[in-house]
């Protein structure tokens, strides 16, 4: 574990099944300050300009409450949170997310690390669809 609360080695590269991770750093209100290339190429490029863009703008309106709750839990209770919500790329894609606080030296959780794994082609998911994911 690093001082960021998560092994940074997990941030870069691909998962065991070869699918690349999405990586986003936001503040507690969801304003993005950092993404990896995979996320940017997949989602953020559809938005212009990218600067100070809210993560909420990329999330399906029915799923924004989940993101809000996850950010709040990370920020206030300093919990790692696992959740799923849809992110827009022309259509919406289901992504499984793990959110964790980035610890500052004074132990303030001012930023949230969002690590996402695309659920496309995973069992029970409809790629780009509006279906509710199986839990």
């Amino acid at each position: 574990m690093t001082k960021y609360g998560k092994a940074i080695g997990d941030w870069i590269g691909t998962s065991n099944d070869g699918r690349p991770y999405y990586l986003v750093v936001t503040d507690a209100e969801g304003r993005m300050s950092f993404t990896n290339a995979h996320f940017y190429s997949s989602f953020q490029a559809a938005q212009a300009p990218p600067i100070r863009n809210s993560f909420f703008n990329l999330v399906h309106e029915n799923d924004r409450q989940q993101l809000m709750e996850a950010l709040s839990r990370c920020s206030l209770r300093q919990e790692a949170v696992n959740t799923e919500f849809r992110v827009r790329n022309g259509h919406f894609r289901w992504v499984k997310w793990e959110l964790s606080g980035i610890r500052k030296p004074e132990n303030m959780s001012e930023q949230i690390l969002c690590l996402g794994k695309d659920m496309a082609n995973a069992p029970g998911r409809i790629v780009g669809g509006e279906a509710i994911p199986s839990k």
Binding site: T2, Y4, I8, G9, W11, I12, G13, L23, V25, M32, S33, F34, T35, N36, A37, H38, Y40, S41, A45, P50, I51, R52, N53, Q111
Partner: protein
């Protein structure tokens, strides 16, 4: 007067460097958005969609030399300042990168603490 809301692209596959870079970027007021690419291919992909205000570029990338990406940036976006960061900090590489248009060249192991001041000056 400094421009606000700068975007920086970092092209480097080193986990240790990224671990150092993220807090450095957080401390620079006018940098609002950072995109990380871990390879030449990812760097090209991002550059095809985004025009950053500055690029931090490693020479040693897993799929191709960062010098080759520097050449592409200079051809397509000569206005973007490029800061080369490398462990290959000898004069030979410095000369090549300078000749190819890199604005700055820093030794990754020895000069990383200089990055905030270079970024502040460039941004």
């Amino acid at each position: 007067m400094k421009k606000e809301n700068r975007t920086v692209l970092i092209v480097d596959d080193s986990i240790l460097v990224m671990e150092r870079m993220i807090p450095i970027m957080e401390e620079i007021d006018n940098i609002s958005f950072v995109v990380h690419a871990a390879s030449y291919r990812e760097g090209l992909e991002v550059l095809s969609r985004l025009t950053p205000d500055m690029v931090l570029l490693d020479i040693n990338l897993p799929d191709k030399s960062g010098i080759e990406l520097l050449r592409v940036i200079q051809e397509q976006h000569p206005e973007i300042p490029v800061l080369m960061i490398s462990n290959h900090a000898d004069q030979y590489y410095r000369d090549i990168c300078e000749k190819m248009g890199a604005r700055y060249f820093l030794d990754k192991s020895a000069d990383i603490d200089l990055i905030p001041s270079v970024l502040s000056a460039a941004c």
